[in-house]
Symmetry: C2
Amino acid sequence: MVQRRKRLLDTEAILDAALACVDDTGRLTMADLATRLGVSASSIYHHFSGRTAIVEALRERMATTIDLPPLDESDWGAQVSRWMLAYRRALAEHPSLIPLLNEQTMTAGSVLQAYESIAILLRRTGVPVREIVLWIGVLDCYALGAALDLAAPDEVWSLERDDLPALGEAITAAPRGRERADEAFALGLEALLTGLRHRLAA
Amino acid sequence: MVQRRKRLLDTEAILDAALACVDDTGRLTMADLATRLGVSASSIYHHFSGRTAIVEALRERMATTIDLPPLDESDWGAQVSRWMLAYRRALAEHPSLIPLLNEQTMTAGSVLQAYESIAILLRRTGVPVREIVLWIGVLDCYALGAALDLAAPDEVWSLERDDLPALGEAITAAPRGRERADEAFALGLEALLTGLRHRLAA
């Protein structure tokens, strides 16, 4: 019995349970996690130094599903776009995890490696060194927001009033649901990259 | 005593407590809310039909702090930017509320009125009717993500490795903390609007 429990409580099992806690309740506490695993909190501390380390391990695990930009001779904008698409998709799988990831300093190696690649791409295209982190922040904000947007209901607005004609007409004409979210994401990403190119040319 | 409790349990007191629940725990349950108010859940239902109605009332209350675009003859981009700045600031005051706001259909009147104004602005500047909702979605994603970014730690990345030279150099050269977040927000918003203008001109 002891052996079986020991086998079950490996780091992957803890991370699976932590993600389930976040998905179900929108938060992560060591007490909830211990209850879900059916162990004492102290046995979790045998594997992780605490909640921060668990969230960071979840970030690391998410990052390993995202291909790094190849940093080859292909268009830098296309490389950034592919990375952004994968990043948004990975974030959108667990939208409740987003605020947790966002509120702590990143130390996960794979994640830092991805930002290193983006920094290299932006430098190569001529972004001043002082602005690299700012543009990474812009991309991050947009990916986080777009991932949350994938969790929005198909019906974003409920209009039962006839005093909002412009919005009503726009909603009727627009795609809905996943198609709306995907088209909007592509449109905004293209606009961001166009804006950046325009700034670099100026 | 009964009278005092009745006076305390008005809709504003319920909304204050609901916001405190969300701020403290990252979630909102009727049970937690009743405990915090020291009342039974049924007395809350006397004021609100349920959790959805409470979240919607919080959205409405937030929206009333944001000035609507004047829809005057001033530059549409400047009108959108001012609204976005206020929207991000309001969202950032309660970042844990963001996922809750995002996951349900909007019915709050002041919020719908704001989107009506943005729809009118975008139509006037020549955005095709099918794309209005998409661009509103882009602005929304960016505002939500940027509001979350305000909750990020001053030190976004912790680099203790010397194999990430581009990122390391960029972090050293960049502004930090609130200054980083604000500059990035302005840069990205300008890029989005430039990209939109560019698309309209094409």
